[in-house]
Subunit: 413 residues, 2 copies
Amino acid sequence: MSETVSPLAPKSYAEMPVIRGVSMSTAAAGIKYKNRTDVLLMSFERPATVAGVFTKSKCPSAPVDFCRSNLGHGVARGVVVNSGNANAFTGVKGRTATELTAKSAAAALGCAENEIYLASTGVIGEPLDATKFAGVLGDMAKGATGDFWLEAAKAIMTTDTYPKVATRSAEIGGVKVTINGIAKGAGMIAPDMATMLSFVVTDADIAAPALQALLSAGVEPTFNSVTVDSDTSTSDTLLLFATGAAAADGQKKVESAEDPALSGFTSALNDLLKDLALQVVRDGEGARKMVEVTVVGAESDQAAKKIALSIANSPLVKTAVAGEDANWGRIVMAVGKSGEMADRDRLAIWFGDIRVAVNGERDPAYSEAATTAVMKEQDIPVKVDIGLGDGRATVWTCDLTKEYVAINGDYRS
Amino acid sequence: MSETVSPLAPKSYAEMPVIRGVSMSTAAAGIKYKNRTDVLLMSFERPATVAGVFTKSKCPSAPVDFCRSNLGHGVARGVVVNSGNANAFTGVKGRTATELTAKSAAAALGCAENEIYLASTGVIGEPLDATKFAGVLGDMAKGATGDFWLEAAKAIMTTDTYPKVATRSAEIGGVKVTINGIAKGAGMIAPDMATMLSFVVTDADIAAPALQALLSAGVEPTFNSVTVDSDTSTSDTLLLFATGAAAADGQKKVESAEDPALSGFTSALNDLLKDLALQVVRDGEGARKMVEVTVVGAESDQAAKKIALSIANSPLVKTAVAGEDANWGRIVMAVGKSGEMADRDRLAIWFGDIRVAVNGERDPAYSEAATTAVMKEQDIPVKVDIGLGDGRATVWTCDLTKEYVAINGDYRS
């Protein structure tokens, strides 16, 4: 938790409604931090269906392994999240810690251990002392409440400068349902703090396979389209739970993601995922500006995304944005290095509405002064037309500042 | 050219011997800089054989296109290099500029235009005024001299803080031959200055196809194993010329790269390429430390190189090195994100001689104080054993400092 809040932070936090069927509680277990909460317990009154998406890292954390193996079961009763220690690269001790935590949580909630989900964020390589949870989870289960979303978001922060919350509502077959979510950043992987974590809960009644299909599709244009520093955490975890409480209002359980009744819910979910993902970027370490990179005219959507990420991850593009420099030569460079088909002489590039390059050279009509004005804004839209096909993609990133280097060069010591 | 020389600069420049058959001259054509040389003409007394390796960018500069198309001819009489303007992303004007420059150079040297090689480094997207060369190349050709390597290296600098020169000698069939080379950095692509350029000349008598085979093989473990910021220039150019002057001493012309007579020459060439490549890294923008990343035990050499580059390009690893922080958790992260096979529980990691992690967790014997001492050095060796196979690779990079952000955020404006 930083002293200085990101200048890109939202002006106010969303009012988070209660979601029937889920309650939360936080505690200060002293994992690493002093004088702040560092454990979140989320508990479901009745078994909730669950879907998950995890880091693609070949060296995932112990909690990621644990969640993946429980996901086949498809039912959740509780979630335990801690900040301060990622329980990653902790060998056999890591697995022992997840088992002990799950055991304590299952005892506190009166459920099976494979109905518990775990996520940890913090230092990599330090053994996590799971006995610290044993002492607090019982009391946390007793004191849990539904109106606690902002506090929940605060307990999972590491180098985040603000808590990230979002809410949406939709109708399924005429019955109103709500979706709430929280997330944390603050780098794609923060210092040697690891991780992007996000937990989303709805009161809709949706079967686990349908929930998983919705989440897997929804994550691509949202959480999988943001990058702070191109580094992938060992611990990235996004979980979506459906408590099914809306069944009491007459919502008919949805079994398939293809069910037309889900259309409103699907847009609301995707919108919420995008909201949370952009909040993560806007709190990227040292971020002073947000950059939205749109690539059109690529050979395919996949090619467009690869080019867009090549631009968004380029240190030279990101430092140029930090310097408010409309340096489109670096955009050309990043397109060229992406490995995807591009024809130099068909490229066109825009900053905001201003086309700076066209047909493989500087736009004759381009005004440096107008472009500089765009670069002085907090949100910088960059568009590239490859001129070859119909593929398109949008990704979001932040600038690369001296503060990023300071945060990440000074952290562990 | 920066005011402050990199702390990693060599203590002294190599004494560069004359190479028979090549002479050089420099001039201040005022392409962009004031009060410094910015054009180099290298001329070969008799047609030299030539080999080249270029950027893999899909948006290469006009000079790269020009060199590539001449390379089939295999004979060189002259090289024109300018700093200050990359002649990249300049559309039709770019091609016109290369044609005009080649024409002026061919007239000055009395040769064909397809015997001229060109390289440009500097701003991307600005049309290059090639008429500036027409006025100086004739005089440059007349004033060229063989003892001019350091001056040649200076004329091609952009954000480099020191000129990069190297020399080696070897014997081919008992006849002594010499190899000289110059290079420039200073980022993998410098600011919106583009490019790594290097020109190497030997008096050995070697046929063009053999020369190309030697260069293509030699570049992999040297120039293709260094990275400053993961950004690939539109203009990277490495040219190797053989004047054949050693034939006068009785050196029998070598037709094949497989010829055993070349063994000494091949090692000397590879050694020189590595020397120049490391000089480029040691002058990486804002660099304060050099990092040598060795990966062993990977599934293949190719996998090892991909993992090593994932580590060397990670902003979080590079900022940790800048902060003298032995943050091996970030090494685990970078191994995990490389996409190559890795087994968390078999990984071992060393900083210098100190093993910090083994069997998927912190080494119990690891001393933070001893590791911190390693991190305070200028040159930091990092080794990772993947524990799966025999694949190995070494790559070199520098740290990521606030100065990198300052150089690249403040450059164009």
